[in-house]
Symmetry: none
Subunit: 154 residues, 4 copies
Amino acid sequence: MHSGSLFCHFKSKEALLYEVMQKGMRSALARQTIVLRGKHDSAATLRQLIRLHFETLLESNSDFMWAVLYESRALNTRQLRLIEELQGNYEAAWTPVLHELASTGCLRAEVPLARHLIFGSLNWSLQWFDAKNGASLDDLTDAMVALVMHDTSR
Amino acid sequence: MHSGSLFCHFKSKEALLYEVMQKGMRSALARQTIVLRGKHDSAATLRQLIRLHFETLLESNSDFMWAVLYESRALNTRQLRLIEELQGNYEAAWTPVLHELASTGCLRAEVPLARHLIFGSLNWSLQWFDAKNGASLDDLTDAMVALVMHDTSR
Amino acid sequence: MHSGSLFCHFKSKEALLYEVMQKGMRSALARQTIVLRGKHDSAATLRQLIRLHFETLLESNSDFMWAVLYESRALNTRQLRLIEELQGNYEAAWTPVLHELASTGCLRAEVPLARHLIFGSLNWSLQWFDAKNGASLDDLTDAMVALVMHDTSR
Amino acid sequence: MHSGSLFCHFKSKEALLYEVMQKGMRSALARQTIVLRGKHDSAATLRQLIRLHFETLLESNSDFMWAVLYESRALNTRQLRLIEELQGNYEAAWTPVLHELASTGCLRAEVPLARHLIFGSLNWSLQWFDAKNGASLDDLTDAMVALVMHDTSR
DNA sequence: TATGAATGAGAGTTCATTCAT
DNA sequence: AATGAATGAACTCTCATTCAT
């Protein structure tokens, strides 16, 4: 692409960034909503949310999450507020699931902090995950579930 | 500071960044080494490592970690290699502790992935932690330990 | 009009500008020539020239004069020379009329300077005249004649 | 001067333009105020105002007037409003002088229109005046006074 | 002939760096 | 060592022009 071509389609670089982030977040929210509509026990739901979030972060068409997580400072105040609202809604949907797991002892940390810590684990994968070699998204999901889901069977 | 003064002390902005990152990482490594020298069971050691890492990330004199985690792309290849080596050493020191915890069933995920996921939880706190209100570093440490350390008493 | 359509009709934006300026100036010259052909005393002729020039400047189909007066720098040398020649012819036609008025004492300034000053008064109206409210072109013409035509009746 | 140097001294090209226009207009207003303070008959005052305005337009350090008259569209709304206020004050100061001359029959056109037409004559000199050859500012002043000041002695 | 996405030269701006003081 | 004006490479953006449809 050449220097001026961007501006046929977007008013500014900022506008492109905003569009990408916003469209991406709406799509991620929509996919997450579908998962949450399915009737499953909360442990299965958490596994699905984790798996979906890894997809949202790491699949080839998911560059927007890098922008959402690391380029927000390039937005203006109004744009930032909307993106943060979308992120807020996305993360808020995890809270009831986490509460249910906490109530049954599967999750052993205060929910608000646990949510931050869990999203940290997931989001940080953008920094080190390499699709070419090493673990698959299923491996990651298994590891994450094993890491934070406590056993209550005994 | 005035615009030209930086260059009395550093060859370039890149050199300053490198100096800050390198000094910070060496100091973090030194403090971590002291913790690891103490004789404790691995559960207590992990708690101390977590607590120390939160300090390294979040205390007022710890801006260097933000640079290490988010500004590495501004370094040249040689500098980057050394910083990554220091980070590698820092994180590698956790591996034996995690292995010991895994062997006793306290840690229920494959160690290499678990380490990445745990560092993700911790490092991500830079994005949301606010010293002014909310949790303390002790709260964070408690939550993190509760989240990933499994109960083996029963 | 759409962005590419202009170039079906003109080689360049400059060519369009030149066409508009040139056509407009030729038409203005033609109308002025008709006025000058009529047999009138020089005072009446000046009034007609002034009135016609206000029309040429300010009527709705007269945007070309704005281009002639303020956009000439966008032309190339050859184009500029022709437009300036047309302007020169247009203004030169006033000289005999002004000389006759000067000879009878109706005009009290050296003709070459007077011509510049008079065209200044007229041309400047493009900057402040508002057809919607305020004076009419007749009002402007009356004011201009009253301003510069001296009384010789006494 | 090189491409970036401007921005050591001004926030933007717009800010430079505004500074130049504003400083220039304030200085022109100050000089005009001094002239108006002197006690003279209105004919002499008008001559002084005309002479001073030609200086303001045409002397070597007077490029700001070109900006005020032809580059205002490059300002933002707030800046434009202040510059137009300064211009308005500058031109308003002529009104009492013109009224006095109109009342004695020296000026034979309605004052508001006469003021516009007179400023047109003067301002237009920027388009054609050449200091190197031809008339002096005194010549211009004489011509302008002769053009519009009517004789009441007879 | 008309369209509108793509082009690229040029303008405006930023910022790390240099340099005279 | 400290200063801050000047530099120039790189970036964002505009707009006249081209071109495939």
